[in-house]
Amino acid sequence: MSAIEPPVQRLWWKQPLDRAELLWIVIALVWCLILFFMMPYWHLYGKQNLANEAYRESPDEYAKKTEAMVAKYKVREEGGDLKVPVVHPPAGGDAYLIARLWSWYPILELEAGKTYRLHLMSMDYLHGFSLQPENINIEVLPGYDHVITVTPTHPGAYGIVCNEYCGIGHSTMTNKLYVVK
């Protein structure tokens, strides 16, 4: 009779539905379909999608590409004695960002309204690219060069926080990203 005893009617799958249940199932199913189709819809009409462009890459090769970009487009250094290069890659071009224990390298300076191919890859453990206060969060894996085609909207100094636990120095892994006019 109750839920802890065998059903009274042996052929329980022949039991008719209650009206409240039927109504709710129909409503819930419609809502579930809306939930589902919002994702393809946003791919077609929304502006925030991951293209899932990624390449297998070795840390050495990735570091080489990053250093080539730094050598070519460095505009200044910051961070006192650390002398972290600030790099201003050309609009429409590739911008490489290295994630490693426990820093981001280099500092990127992008132009508002321009589109960049932002590369993210880790040299060691997993890291998390968290752009604040914009709140864009992307997983960064070693061995996978993840390319995000991004268009910064507003000028300002943004923070990059690591939000994938990467060991004892996890909290120290923060950096800047500049967007200029």
Partner: protein
């Protein structure tokens, strides 16, 4: 070897306990509670460190404590208790002897050994890798071996459960189909087998890697398969705690399911689709296509979400019908107002249901949406979500069930009844605060698993807004309230089980049953009651042609909250930088 066929009948409830099954249910439940105690003590360290104004522990200790807290709570506490629930749902509810009690004890031994070994590895200090232990961050080999031993033990226990179903069927201890609650437990056990297999597939190579026998573990492969273990193990919880909801509705109210067909079909949807949720954790990862992400993250068009929404209606709906039949038939909510709010078995279960649905369910679907994940991935939003699902949903449901099991299974009186009465409210409200404020902090971008979000001493620090610190402070206070609620549960449970006044059972004896328990009588299907269960009780109760109009209204409130919150987040997403 002779098969133990000794049974006792609980004089209060009429439930029938097989002697070895009873011992095993007790042992597994007690082991679960021990790990809840350890995890609860560790929670103090987590709460007081992430509360920026207190910031108690140094970084290395914090990550160590957080690792152990996650494992002891999410894996060891819930799975030990779930094994107890599985044995209860098979042996006790089917009035059958437990199959192979010795294997069940071996399983228990393996699980205890594995859990202790894993905890030992974390105390070493070189295995603070979080529950997820993402390769290539490596832990000591005992970390993986402990988890593998525990998983093998749990797998054996699942097969003891399946074996008991076979025994019950073979010895005809019940007529017809298994009860709905057992059906839900079968769902949980099937998901558990899938989960444990996934765990083995990834943890065995990782163990070999940790001792140097394998040179490389691909990080994306690790994440994909590990989450088929990590997320699916939380789906065991969902199936198990929803079974507990149905059981409590039946125990407290004598409620019968609105329709067996609907509730069982919903469980079937879980079996078919819940395992796809590994994708929830990979939505912001490189190397996977959007097609893969969308299909998997939505459980193939949200069919498992549909199932949860159905259970969310049918459990309180069944309670409403039972209450209305008792005469609480006025208006929309008399049935709910007159519910036994002072009985922790009911109040715990109902808070679990509301918290799981409103806080856990809605937030889970939101952040499990491919694009919306971008604004929540790896933020505190994630722990906010799963403290609503696993803690308010699963843990509180299990706590509620404990208040029923102490007198029935352990034959002890609850030591502090007044404390028991308040405990679900203290724990539930504290944890609801934790969930809400962590989600709020996550919405503001605060990362999870981070020792210090002031980033003091960093060359390029980022300053979170003051509102984020306010949310973390409120989460800290809520966390302390929840810890008090947890301590009330532990004190009462441990006290009652070991020191509580024994409930006298006149004429107590174990009865030997030669075949089954010989008590299975064919339920006489009286035409009138069958018709009542089916046809909406002849229009005697309810309103608007619905037997459960109150529950239906609550469901509509839920739907409206869901729709609003979901689209607010799309609006938020639309404001961030365009990317493709």
């Amino acid at each position: 070897m002779a098969v133990n066929r000794m049974f006792r009948t609980c004089p209060t409830t009429g439930l029938v306990f097989h002697q070895p099954a009873e011992q095993l249910i007790k042992a597994n439940a007690v082991a679960g509670v021990v790990f809840l105690l350890i995890g609860g003590i560790l929670a103090i360290g987590v709460v007081l460190t992430r509360w920026p104004a207190v910031h108690l522990l140094p970084a290395d200790r914090f990550y160590q404590v957080l690792t152990a807290h996650g494992l002891d709570m999410l894996i060891f506490w819930v799975i030990f208790f779930e094994i107890a629930v599985l044995y209860f749902c098979s042996s006790t509810l089917l009035k059958a002897r437990l199959a192979t009690p010795r294997m069940a004890w071996a399983a228990f031994g393996l699980m205890v050994l594995g859990a202790l070994m894993n905890n030992y590895s974390v105390t070493r200090g070189d295995s603070s890798v979080m529950m997820t232990s993402y390769a290539p961050m490596g832990a000591h080999w005992t970390f993986y071996l402990g988890l593998i031993l525990f998983a093998v033990g749990a797998l054996v226990a699942c097969f003891v459960f399946f074996g008991t179903l076979v025994v019950a069927k073979g010895e005809r201890t019940y007529i017809g189909s298994v009860p709905l609650v057992t059906f839900g437990a079968i769902t949980a056990a099937i998901i558990a087998v899938f989960t444990i297999a996934s765990g083995a597939i990834i943890l065995i190579p990782t163990l070999l890697w940790s001792v140097g026998l394998i040179s490389h573990i691909d990080p994306l492969m690790y994440r994909t398969i590990w989450w088929a273990f990590g997320h699916s193990s939380q789906q065991i919880n969902v199936a198990a705690h929803i079974s507990v909801w149905y059981a409590i509705a039946a125990i407290v109210f004598g409620a019968k399911p609105l329709s067996e067909r609907v509730s069982r079909s919903a469980f079937l949807l879980y079996i078919l689709f819940l395992q796809l949720a590994s994708a929830h954790h990979l939505l912001a990862d490189p190397g996977l296509s959007s097609n893969w992400k969308i299909f998997n993250t939505s459980y193939a068009m949200y069919l498992a979400v549909l199932a949860s929404m159905v259970h969310g209606l049918t459990v309180p709906g069944a309670i409403e019908v039972a209450q209305r039949e008792k005469g609480y038939n006025q208006g929309l909510f008399e049935w709910l107002r007159k519910a036994p709010w002072g009985n922790p078995v009911f109040s715990g279960m109902f808070i679990s249901l509301i918290g799981f649905g409103f806080l856990g369910g809605i937030s889970g679907v939101m952040m499990g949406t491919e694009q919306l994940n971008l604004i929540t991935h790896n933020t505190l939003y994630v722990p906010g979500h799963f403290h609503a699902t696993v803690v308010i949903g699963t843990t509180l449901a299990f706590m509620a069930l404990t208040y029923f099991l102490i007198p029935v299974l352990f034959r002890r009186e609850i030591m502090f009844p007044a404390m028991a009465k308040w405990q679900p409210y203290v724990f539930g409200l504290g944890m609801a605060g934790v969930a809400l404020f962590l989600m709020a902090a996550g919405t503001l971008g605060v990362p999870r698993r981070d020792w210090d979000i002031t980033f003091a001493g960093n060359t390029f620090p980022y300053e979170f807004p003051g509102s984020a610190f306010l949310m973390l402070g409120l989460a800290g206070i809520s966390g302390l309230i929840a810890i008090v609620g947890g301590a009330m549960y532990l004190l009462n449970t441990v006290g009652s089980v070991f020191l509580g006044r024994k409930i006298a059972t006149p004429g107590f004896r174990h009865v030997r049953a030669t075949e089954g328990v010989a008590s299975a009588q064919k339920p006489v299907a009286q035409p009138s009651t069958v018709a009542a269960a089916i046809t909406g009780h002849g229009g005697r109760i309810g309103a608007w042609g619905l037997v459960a109009p109150g529950t239906f209204s609550l469901a509509m409130v839920f739907l409206v909250s869901f729709v609003l919150y979901y689209f607010i987040n799309w609006k938020y997403l639309a404001t961030v930088w365009p990317l493709r």
